[in-house]
């Protein structure tokens, strides 16, 4: 893992250095025009640039881009895009808070670096910051991770791409449910937003598909990165006899390592953490941004845009579309659990297995779906989830 990163880092650095050296004057020139250009005249710039020598793509991360978690997954995807698609120059900025700072960063990438495509990757950048900037720079494309785009409501140059990583969490839940004798699972979560709740619910539904008595204990730490609380949460779960722990925080390393120390199975998140828990790592839900970013990069270079409509405004996909994947099974996983996990993954990929299927109740007894109804993965209702399903121990507020 670390070697792979280093290789990426190296190539990225080389590309950036080389291009910088060769286009120092170009940069200044662009800076000049970027300032003089008023936003309203920006519309025809795309038409003029029929044969762009390079396309500047900006990536913005909310935390450090080597956090072994959410941000690193995106940064590796960005590096893959640059490596696979010639003609793209990457500019990156990390640790950008969700305030006016991110608006200024976007503007600076557009005006100073000449970026034509921006990937502000944090969920919280969307409203109001991306929406404001998109209105001001209609010729720049803004792609945001998360399914928040609404047709007709949001500007035409904004797009959402979203990975149904809960499909991978469902499979991880199946494996966890098989591996746990008592059926007691744990989930260390940051904040009760729909994305997190969906992961918890899918994990639980996966476990209950093989062990109907399985339960998932949720502990919210309240912050996306708070190592001491994450370790405390993992320890208190281990104290309660919980046998498999997974998480949704920015950097899962603390949870995985603490659980391994306590002799508890773990299931990873964001990236492959198997090396952190050689005994207890079962599997994990990983992002696979490389494929989607490479695909988008090729589209950009082919002249496709959101505005022209040849890049869809909402790109969604799960296991079948390589938006996410599962970590290879760890050594502890039994053949039976592997077979069930593989079957679930195959079912999801083929579309035969629907995760949210009636009858389904919340853990407070309210009905989510009657017996004859189901919600397929791409149902937008799932992205507004504000409940825990039956089997989850915890409360959303």
């Amino acid at each position: 893992m670390s070697d792979r990163n280093r290789a990426f880092g190296f190539s990225r650095r080389q590309v950036v250095r080389g291009l910088l050296a060769s286009s120092a004057f170009g940069l200044t020139a662009k800076f000049g025009t970027g300032c003089a250009q008023s936003p309203s005249t920006g519309g025809d710039a795309a038409a003029d640039g029929a044969a762009p020598e390079e396309l500047v793509v900006g990536f913005i991360y909310v935390g450090p881009k080597d956090d072994y978690g959410y941000n690193q997954a995106h940064a590796e995807g960005a590096a893959a895009m640059v490596a696979n698609v010639p003609g793209i120059r990457l500019v990156e900025e990390a640790n950008v808070p969700e305030t006016t700072a991110v608006a200024e960063t976007m503007r600076s990438m557009i005006e100073i670096d000449g970026a034509k495509v921006l990937f502000p990757t944090s969920f919280g950048y969307f409203d109001p910051h991306i929406l404001n900037m998109a209105k001001e720079f209609p010729d720049v494309q803004f792609l945001h991770a998360g399914g928040l785009y609404q047709e007709g409501v949001h500007p035409n140059n904004v797009g959402s791409y979203f990975g149904y990583i809960d499909e991978a969490q469902y499979v991880a839940g199946v494996v966890a449910g098989r591996m746990s004798k008592s059926g007691k699972l744990g989930f260390v979560a940051a904040k009760p937003i729909p994305q997190v709740l969906r992961n918890v619910n899918s994990f639980t539904l996966g476990a209950r598909s093989v062990n109907p008595a399985a339960t998932t204990q949720v502990i919210f730490t309240g912050e996306w990165a708070e190592p001491v609380k994450e370790a405390e949460a993992t320890n208190s779960m281990a104290d309660q006899g919980i046998e498999v722990i997974t998480c949704h925080v920015d950097s899962p390393k603390v949870v995985i390592e603490t659980a391994e120390k306590r002799g508890v199975y773990t299931s990873g998140y964001h990236a492959d953490q198997s090396s952190l828990a050689p005994k207890g790592y079962l599997t994990g839900a990983e992002w696979d941004w490389s494929s989607i970013y490479t695909k988008l990069g090729q589209d950009f270079m082919a002249g496709k845009t959101l505005m022209a409509g040849d890049i869809p405004h909402i790109l969604r996909g799960g296991l079948a579309d390589n938006f996410c994947k599962l970590s290879p099974y760890g050594p502890a996983v039994t053949d039976e659990a592997k077979a069930d996990g593989d079957a679930a993954a195959a079912g999801i990929k083929s579309g035969d297995l629907v995760i949210y299927k009636g009858p389904l109740k919340t853990n407070t007894g309210d009905e989510v779906l009657p017996a004859d109804k189901e919600m397929k993965t791409n149902n937008v209702e799932l992205e507004k989830m504000d409940y825990f399903v039956e089997g989850v121990i915890g409360s959303v507020s």
């Binding site: 450090p64 919210f220 730490t221 190592p227 405390e232 309660q240 306590r262």
Partner: protein
């Protein structure tokens, strides 16, 4: 891998375990700051020292494990953290003693500087695994795995506890302790005694920063046992504040640190037994508790009881 459920016993056990694990950085930083403030200077920059120490310890433990082996490497890391602390401490010690330079201001700038250095050099060490410090299992008498795990004592915790009576004795009964107190309480008298105010303060600040650096090592090499940029999240600043709470007495630093470490475990422990609302407020419990205790125990008449006389005066 099954362990037995503890149910409600998990809450006191979690608090006990949190006390033993979570209090170490508070204890070491507050002891270091206690020594520093006794000499009449404040070092708010220990938050940055804690971060830089955590990073240095982790980096050295990781880099040296191939050379000296995984048993010795974390101890080298601890040493490196202490030295890293001393480097930052000597900057603070020199700068904060210049005429008209305010020590609180230097401290805040040092938080940024120390944290910046830690994050700058720490990038390559976030992902790899460094060998951790060993722990002393004193829970072997119990059959319960949670109890055994809770009673894993860090040698750094023992070090901190051992320093408490030593420091207390140092201030009360040694000539050097008298020098530190004299410099902190009435610099003029110290000057008349022929003591170098500059060097006594410098030594106190550097020694205090050494302890704070080791506190950082306990974060990255003991608990939670990783290096990330959010590892301290304000613990250093809080530990500095605890010294005022502890009225500049080493023993009270110990109690305050234990209280704070234990209270940190409240939020997760309560959620694990089903009390799942209000967790933000439970997570704020250490702060609320400290404030309430201060309101109860303080009185306007003895505001500055125990406070070194020269504290907060420009040199």
């Amino acid at each position: 891998m099954a362990t037995e459920a503890l149910g409600w016993w998990g809450v006191p056990l979690g608090i006990l375990a949190g006390t033993l694990r979570g209090s170490v950085p508070f204890l070491l930083v507050s002891l270091g700051e206690c020594l520093t403030e006794k000499s009449g200077k404040i070092n708010l920059g220990l938050e940055g020292t804690l971060l830089f120490g955590a990073m240095s310890a982790y980096a050295i433990s990781y880099l040296s494990s191939g050379i000296v082996g995984p048993t010795l490497a974390p101890w080298l890391g601890v040493l490196a953290a202490g030295v890293a602390g001393m480097v930052l401490g000597s900057i603070h010690g020199w700068l904060s003693q210049q005429p008209r330079v305010n020590d609180v201001a230097v401290g805040i700038a040092m938080i940024i500087f120390g944290g910046g250095l830690a994050n700058f050099f720490g990038k390559p060490f976030i992902q790899p695994q460094a060998p951790h410090l060993p722990t002393l299992p004193i829970g072997g008498w119990s059959d319960l795995a949670p109890v055994q795990s809770a009673l894993q004592i860090s040698p750094l915790f023992l070090l901190g506890v051992a320093i408490v009576p030593l420091m207390s004795w140092f201030f009360k009964s040694t000539r050097w302790g008298l020098y530190v107190r004299a410099v902190g309480d009435s610099p003029d008298a110290a000057l008349a005694m022929g003591i170098s105010i500059f060097w006594v303060r410098m030594a106190s600040i550097v020694a205090g920063s050494f302890l704070a650096g080791i506190g950082g090592a306990s974060l990255s090499l003991f608990y939670p046992g990783v290096w990330t940029e959010r590892i301290s999240s304000g613990q250093g600043l809080m530990a500095v504040a605890l010294v005022i709470f502890a009225r500049w007495r080493p023993w009270q630093c110990l109690w305050a640190s234990l209280l704070f470490g234990g209270a940190q475990a409240l939020g997760p422990a309560f959620q694990s037994v089903g009390i799942d609302s209000y967790y933000y407020l439970f997570n704020a419990a250490p702060y609320i508790l400290t404030l309430v205790i201060m309101i109860i125990t303080c009185s306007p008449k003895r505001t500055l009881a125990g406070a070194p006389g020269a504290l907060g005066q420009d040199s």
